[in-house]
């Protein structure tokens, strides 16, 4: 009963949105909330850079955990802590569904070609297991690293290394094997992925 009413409610906007730009908009409530992020993360989560991350295509679980981490203060942030505090668990989950339904966006990120080339090998041996297909698979639940803005990748790595953000044990092992130069190269590799 209730399901049917909601079902019809979603039908019209979903169709309109699809005819417009081939995007799938999930829930009007989610879209309303997600649209407020566009001024910093780009329309439909496609950031114009130079630093703030793309959100399009992040997996539901990565998105939700990240937002909860910002809200609870377990993930370092300049501003997302203050923004995440404006949403309930349900609202975060509903935005998670919205962003996960968008196709992954790989931005055309300025990077050093030589570093990216050197980074490719390090990637294969140290990172590919968990950041598959150049770091573009939402299903890895490890963020989207492919075509991600380089400063953002660098800040994330700096936070991990400084102990401000927790790495999984295995990623820590992989990261600790690498010199700063090697790590920098892998980040250029991720940024270069199209």
């Amino acid at each position: 009963m209730n399901y049917r009413i909601r079902y019809l409610g979603y039908l019209a906007p979903a169709i309109i949105a699809l005819t417009a730009g081939g995007q799938v908009f999930a829930d009007p409530g989610a879209e309303m909330m997600a649209n407020t992020c566009a001024g910093c993360h780009g329309t439909h989560g496609k950031s114009a850079g130079p630093a703030s991350p793309n959100l399009a295509g992040l997996s539901e679980s990565y998105f939700t955990e990240t937002m909860l981490g910002f809200r609870e203060g377990t993930r370092p942030a300049t501003i997302m802590d203050r923004i995440a505090k404006g949403y309930t668990n349900e609202q975060i989950e509903s935005m998670a569904t919205y962003f996960a339904a968008l196709p992954v966006y790989k931005a055309n990120v300025p990077h050093d070609v030589a570093k990216a080339k050197a980074g490719a090998e390090i990637y294969e041996s140290g990172c590919a297991k968990c950041h598959d297909e150049g770091g573009s698979l939402p299903g890895d639940d490890a963020g989207i690293l492919a075509g991600q803005w380089l400063p953002w990748l660098q800040y994330s790595m700096a936070d991990y290394k400084a102990g401000h953000r927790e790495m999984t044990k295995k990623m820590k092992k992989a990261v600790e094997k690498l010199s700063d130069t090697e790590l920098e190269a892998v980040l250029h590799y991720f940024a270069s992925q199209q």
Binding site: Y10, T19, A20, P28, R82, I83, E93
Partner: protein, 423 residues
């Protein structure tokens, strides 16, 4: 559980619809409906674009007085010489790409009863719903500050030739000169703006004219992000910037442009460059259309941004009385999306849903140092209000590393908001 069902359903319709998208005319109830948007700034541009993205069957006409728009946001960086005018210029080509009919003309009349808009060029546009976003106009709170005075003592509170004028005066000023910023009373466009401007100009002075001074004569006794700005005045601009509160002789009541004199409290200050920012009200056309209240702003319904005075007209951006949201580009952009969703819903015979809004404002206050304010807003008991516990300021003790990141994020904000409004 509900989540999963919904997604599966969408995925299923997704492919079906992609094949037969044009086969559902009955669902598209707004076909042929007309929306006219007055003003192509942050608010108007966003509204026009988001209506078209949500429902391309609606005809949207955007009427804007100038063929090119210069953003006020980041115009303070032009004053410091950190960017050029080109970087704050936006064209309307992006909006045309969304199928919006962009008309360069000035709206002279909004006929709410007849649902028509008239322009100086002699055209008439009928509408089903109208979005009004003309930005601000100035009040006469300072004696002697007339149209002519604006050229001698530029406000630079609408970006464009005013910005260029002020920059040229700063360039022409000798080392050892005095710059005055006359800061307006509340409420006004961009509450942190005058103080960010002080920081930006001070960076230029420190680098090029280090013997100079910058005085802020304020109509207020406190201001936005005050603690953080005072910290910046001390940390980066000591010996250059001085803030004079209204109660301490800062209230400017009169100016004399012929001698570049500012009368504040009981004192006459002869200065080299005077940046006079008067008190503000909604843009002229909003006043003329009878959309404003006795304070000079347009009262609205927080769910739809429909005017509380005239039906079928929605007011967004600086012109609206949307407190507690401040008058910022981020707020204008966020309000415009709420209005756009409401207009699309109403034209399709649906109830407008719950609104959700965000405001953010970055200020670049020194070399490698930026600060921000943010808040999430919703409807509470029918009124716009901040979500409890959300938002706030950059911490005063945040590290230089985090402040430097905020500079990079401020630049990201600028790129993304421009794109989201006009791209």
């Amino acid at each position: 559980m509900a989540h999963i069902t919904r997604r599966r359903f969408l995925q299923a319709t997704g492919s079906a619809v992609a094949v037969g998208a044009l086969g559902f005319p009955a669902i598209v109830g707004a076909a042929g409906k007309k929306v006219v948007v007055v003003g192509g700034g942050a608010g108007g541009a966003t509204a026009a674009k988001y209506i078209r993205m949500a429902d391309p069957s609606i005809e949207v006409t955007l009427i804007e007085a100038n063929a090119e728009h210069f953003t006020c946001f980041f115009s303070n960086e032009v004053l410091s010489g950190h960017r050029g005018m080109d970087s704050i210029k936006v064209s309307y080509d992006g909006l045309k790409g969304h199928g919006i009919n962009v008309v360069i003309d000035t709206v002279t009349e909004i006929d709410a009863a007849g649902r028509k808009v008239k322009t100086a060029g002699g055209s008439t546009f009928a509408y089903d719903r109208c979005i009004v976003a003309p930005g601000i106009d100035f009040k006469d709170n300072i004696e002697g500050y007339d149209e002519a005075a604006m050229r001698a003592m530029p406000h630079a509170w609408k970006a464009g030739e005013q910005t260029v004028l002020l920059r040229k005066q700063l360039e022409a000023m000798p080392d050892g000169g005095v710059v005055a910023i006359v800061a307006p009373p509340n409420p006004f466009r961009c509450p942190p703006g005058p103080y960010e401007r002080a920081c930006q100009i001070a960076m230029y002075l420190r680098a090029r004219k280090p013997k100079s001074k910058l005085m802020i004569f304020d109509a207020k006794d406190k201001f936005s992000k005050q603690g953080l700005f005072m910290q910046a005045f001390e940390r980066h601009h000591a010996g250059i910037v001085e803030w004079v509160a209204a109660g301490k002789g800062g209230l400017v009541t009169r100016v004399d442009p012929s001698s570049n004199t500012i009368y504040a409290g009981n004192t006459a200050h002869k200065v080299d460059v005077a940046n006079v920012i008067p008190a503000q009200k909604a843009g002229k056309i909003a006043v003329k259309a009878g959309l404003t209240d006795d304070k000079g702003w347009c009262p609205i319904d927080g769910r739809t941004f429909e005017s509380a005075i005239h039906k079928n007209i929605h007011v967004v951006g600086d012109a609206s009385a949307a407190s507690p949201l401040p008058k910022s580009a981020y707020a204008a952009n966020s309000e415009a999306k709420v209005a756009a969703a409401a207009v699309v819903d109403l034209l399709n015979g649906r109830q407008p849903g719950e609104p959700s809004l965000v405001n953010t404002c970055y200020s670049i206050i020194g070399p490698n140092d930026a600060i921000s304010v943010a808040k999430v807003y919703h409807l509470d008991g029918g009124k716009l209000s901040g979500v409890e516990g959300s938002g706030g300021l950059t911490p005063k003790d945040s590290s230089p590393e985090m402040r430097a990141r905020e500079v990079a994020y401020a630049n990201s904000w600028f790129a993304n908001i421009k794109d989201d409004c006009w791209g």
